[in-house]
């Protein structure tokens, strides 16, 4: 006897372990999510680098437009410092000249005032018409803060009549010639700047 299957055909059934299928679906989800995560991370990172590039370019443009050559700036600083050093070290004579000339009485005159070769001493040859004025002047020099020591190299009384060799002029007038060596006080020079 021949049998006939009258039942409706069964729907094709997906064969396989449900665990395997679940794993495959999970793998699909993980891999897509991973790609999305890395993709977005890299995009963000790329954006950060793009902004670094933009900032760098604007910094370069700013330096080129608003800045100045570093070599030029360094040369300026170097030259400026060298000139400032020379300016600071150059001898200042006015603080020392001030007492030598300033204390000189009206009637006295200077035959010679000069600085010694080593620049540490002022030498002066002065002529006074009044004895007391010469002594007073020397005392003032000794007390002058700009001068460390006052050395009287020579002091002599001279007859003006003899010097002029004018025998017709009756009255003998005397003058007092003083030669002094004045050691300079470097501290005063610094204060006088």
């Amino acid at each position: 006897m021949r049998s006939i299957n009258l039942l409706p055909p069964k729907a094709p059934r997906i064969k396989g372990s449900p665990l395997l299928l679940s794993l495959l679906v999970l793998l699909a989800v993980v891999s897509i999510a991973g790609q999305w995560y890395y993709g977005m991370t890299w995009k963000d990172e790329a954006k950060r680098f793009t902004s670094i590039v933009t900032e760098s370019r604007s910094e370069i443009a700013r330096l080129q437009s608003a800045g100045m050559s570093r070599t030029k700036a360094e040369q300026y600083e170097q030259a400026s410092a060298a000139i400032a050093k020379l300016e600071a070290e150059r001898p200042e004579w006015l603080p020392y000249l001030s007492p030598v000339v300033g204390y000189l009485p009206d009637k006295a005159k200077a035959n010679y005032i000069g600085i010694s070769e080593d620049g540490k001493m002022v030498q002066a040859e002065l002529v006074f018409s009044v004895y007391q004025e010469s002594i007073s002047y020397l005392k003032k020099l000794e007390e002058a803060p700009a001068l460390r020591t006052t050395k009287i190299s020579a002091y002599r009384k001279e007859s003006e009549k003899d010097r002029s060799n004018d025998s017709a002029n009756g009255s003998n007038q005397f003058q007092y010639k003083v030669v002094v060596e004045l050691q300079l006080n470097p501290a005063v020079k610094e204060a006088g700047r």
Partner: protein
């Protein structure tokens, strides 16, 4: 028996269909991943790689630019002030003009202006100045030779005549002059009446009835020609006299010894 065989055959067919579906799923997953990698992940990676390389390059360029440029701007005014102290393009005529102007400002007569060759021998033409060594330098020491700045010094001897207050004023003016001048040596001597020549007697600044003094100075003028290339630019400032100023000087002081220096 035959029914059992049919049932087994149907089961086998259904089993094959189930296997195909798993493979299809795997293929779909792989395809989706590959497509996503090609069209989404790979461009992102390439963008990142290029961006990183470009950023590194630009950062290197920034470092190069920072090495070449600085934002500590030094104004032209500052450079001009430096040039006024020590010109980048030194000229003898500028020194002469300074000496004359100072003499006139002091109401003293300039008697002589000369390049001091003997003095020059004792001076180094190019001073190497080390700014760092300046601190604590003892008085009277010459600038130390060291790796540092190059400053050129030019020794000049100047003689001026006038009354005491005027020669002192000249000395003061030299030390207060904008241009850096060092007074290395000086002396003030009373001029005897016999030594008063007609030029001095006729000078508007000299009253022959009053004591006349001669101020003799050894000066050093400084300049910065080594810096002219970088800093010189358009700054010529006071380093040279204009032709009309030179003509005026020559007509006024024509006989003096500086003619040769000015003509150099």
């Amino acid at each position: 028996m035959e029914l059992q065989m049919k049932t087994a055959s149907a089961k086998l067919a259904a089993g094959k269909k189930g296997l195909d579906a798993t493979v299809i799923l795997v293929i779909i997953i792989v395809t989706v991943n590959v497509v996503a990698a090609l069209f989404f992940l790979l461009p992102s990676w390439l963008e990142l790689r290029n961006g990183r390389a470009e950023a590194a390059l630009e950062q290197q360029n920034v470092l190069t630019a920072q090495a070449q440029f600085t934002t500590d701007i030094i104004s032209d005014e500052d450079i001009g002030q430096l040039a006024n102290k020590a010109p980048f393009y030194p000229k003898d005529s500028g020194i002469l003009l300074t000496a004359v102007k100072l003499a006139e400002a002091s109401k003293a007569a300039l008697v002589d202006f000369s390049q001091d060759s003997a003095f020059s021998d004792s001076q180094s033409d190019n001073l190497l100045v080390d700014p760092a060594a300046s601190a604590g330098a003892a008085e009277g020491e010459r600038p130390a030779a060291a790796t540092g700045s190059q400053v050129t010094s030019q020794p000049i001897r100047i003689t001026a005549a006038g009354h005491m207050e005027n020669v002192l004023q000249y000395l003061r003016n030299v030390q207060r002059e904008e241009r850096l001048i060092a007074v290395e040596q000086w002396s003030i001597k009373l001029l005897k009446e016999a030594d008063l020549d007609d030029d001095l007697k006729n000078s508007i600044y000299i009253n022959p009835s009053l004591p006349v003094y001669v101020l003799d100075m050894k000066l050093v003028f400084y300049s910065l020609p080594a810096y002219a290339k970088e800093l010189g630019g358009e700054v010529h400032a006071v380093s040279e006299a204009k032709p009309d100023e030179l003509d005026a000087l020559k007509s006024k002081y024509g006989k003096l010894s500086w003619d040769t220096a000015a003509n150099k």
